[in-house]
């Protein structure tokens, strides 16, 4: 039997952001700098939209199939055989994500911080951590994430100020000079890592309020998009696209550039000790997803039973796959962006049609003229307007820039502040929706 788990809106938002951001900041900048050069920071728009689309489909599923996760829904809607086959494909995809993360972090720690420690030992320790969390539930991971993710996010922001002495805005110029195709490709490449959001499908049974889930994932995705964009801006402003595109871990070298007096010479160790737990939680979530998937395939049996053997299986598999760091990077840059549309898009369509058939149209809780509802509607609309502004500025900027160079800077600034505004509005939307839910609950209690 699946363990009853409940997570709140803030935990969902921060988990979403953590799942996307912690992996992307280490592995993505190099690939993006190769494709979009100094415009790599404009690569987060379409992936965020895609995440919102996934959240929308999941919201419909929560409404149509309450208390069920994606694996159970697939079996219920497609039958035992076809459902199991689709679940198998989904599990294989999650296993690839898990191996990518485990081997990626193994290579990263081995090459940067623990060069004397054998890679196998690093992987063993990491998998033991996974097995430890595998005995618990999503709730525990969400709580640990609440401790580390805010610190990680604030530190990512503060890097701009810490590195201000090394920063030169001219390294970002000419802004929007890349061809439109390059911008499109960089967005598509980032989409591969944003596909990790599908792991939330395994926890749909833990969500009680579907609309809150949608707003939380939207906020989390916007937060992650803005955070990655900011790190890319810092990265390109400090090192330029040429160096960024030639380093395996450009963010590590970037963090090494921090020199806060002689006493804090190894500031990167402090930063990575905050990044690592946040990243570990992302891997724990993927691991739990796989355990839940196996549990569902064995007919709702407690997933912790296979935690031990599955952990060892993952450990040995991670040792034998992705032998070089370039394999991990190329997988992220060139295989995942193909796998995500191939696996996730048809599945999303199938799930959406099933949810639509079962529950009909989306029930509207946003009807009415209560001030809180008005506020919620206003923030939702503003979020969409901000994203429309970002899209338009990207489109016009990339077409105008070759003829009028200065306009690239203007549209780049519009894009940046549009994204920042979207991030703020998504937060306000989530807060106002939470207030509505709280009010509705208190009214129901009184009645």
């Amino acid at each position: 039997m699946q363990v009853k788990q409940v997570i709140n809106h803030r935990q969902i938002a921060w988990l979403t952001s953590g799942v996307i951001m912690t992996g992307a900041v280490v592995s993505l900048p190099q690939q993006l700098a190769v494709v979009a050069r100094n415009d790599a920071w404009l690569s987060q728009l379409l992936p965020v939209m895609y995440t919102v689309l996934v959240a929308y489909v999941f919201e419909r599923l929560i409404r149509a199939y309450p208390g069920k996760n994606i694996f159970e829904i697939l079996i219920e809607t497609r039958g035992r055989v076809a459902g199991s086959l689709l679940n198998g494909i989904l599990l294989l995809f999650f296993l690839l994500i898990l191996l990518r993360d485990i081997k990626g972090v193994g290579h990263f720690l081995h090459l940067s911080l623990l060069s004397e420690t054998p890679l196998e030992i690093i992987l063993l320790v990491f998998v033991v951590v996974l097995q430890y969390f595998g005995r618990s539930s999503m709730e525990v991971a969400a709580r640990v994430n609440e401790m580390y993710f805010p610190m990680f996010f604030i530190l990512s922001f503060s890097m701009y100020f810490i590195l201000s002495n090394e920063y030169d805005l001219r390294r970002l110029e000419p802004i929007m000079d890349s061809k439109f195709v390059a911008l499109l490709l960089s967005n598509w490449m980032s989409g591969g890592l944003y596909g990790d959001i599908f792991v939330f499908g395994a926890f749909l049974h833990a969500i009680s309020q579907s609309r809150l889930f949608f707003s939380a994932v939207k906020h989390g995705a916007t937060m992650a998009g803005f955070g990655i964009m900011l790190i890319l801006i810092i990265q390109l402003g400090v090192m330029g696209y040429l160096i960024t595109s030639r380093l395996n871990y450009p963010v590590y070298v970037l963090v090494e550039q921090i020199h806060l007096t002689d006493f804090l010479d190894r500031f990167e160790v402090m930063l990575f000790s905050i990044w690592f737990p946040a990243f570990a939680i992302k891997v724990v979530i993927t691991y739990l997803t796989l355990l839940i998937g196996i549990g569902t395939l064995t007919r709702r049996e407690d997933y912790t039973y296979c935690n031990g053997p599955f952990g060892w299986f993952v450990l040995i598999l991670s040792i034998t796959t992705f032998p070089h760091i370039n394999d991990v990077n190329n997988f992220i840059g060139f295989v995942l962006p193909v796998l995500v549309p191939l696996i996730q898009w048809p599945m999303l369509l199938l799930l959406f049609l099933s949810a639509r058939q079962k529950a009909g149209k989306r029930a509207g809780s946003d009807q009415g003229s209560h001030p809180l509802l008005k506020k919620y509607r206003r923030y939702t609309r503003l979020w969409w307007i901000c994203f429309a502004i970002c899209t338009i500025s990207l489109l016009i900027g990339s077409f105008i820039e070759p003829f009028y160079g200065g306009w690239g800077r203007v549209f780049g600034a519009v894009y940046f502040f549009g994204f920042l505004a979207a991030f703020i509005f998504s937060y306000l939307e989530l807060q106002s929706l939470n207030h509505i839910m709280e009010r509705a609950k208190s009214i129901a209690r009184r009645a």
Binding site: V35, C306, P309, F313, T320
Partner: protein
């Protein structure tokens, strides 16, 4: 493969396998099959990794070829 790792792994692996065999009557038959399959697959992969038999080489070559193709396609676009 690192011998210290191999030692720690085999010890923990066998202890957990013994525990699962002892507790097998608590699991359903389907879960038992999954657990034993995982143990067998792990052991096979471990032996292959220990003797450096690259069983995933053809698969990795296919993936690498695919990566190169996607890369070339992307670069050809601009």
């Amino acid at each position: 493969m690192n011998l210290i790792f191999a030692g720690i792994f085999l010890l923990s692996f066998s202890l957990m396998a013994i525990r699962d065999i002892m507790l097998q009557h608590h699991r359903s038959s389907k879960m038992r099959v999954v657990i034993y399959l995982l143990y067998i697959a792990t052991l096979c992969l471990f032996v292959a990794a220990f003797y450096q038999v690259d069983i995933f080489k053809p698969f990795q070559n296919t993936i690498s070829a695919f990566e190169s193709r996607v890369k070339a396609w992307m670069m050809s676009l601009y």
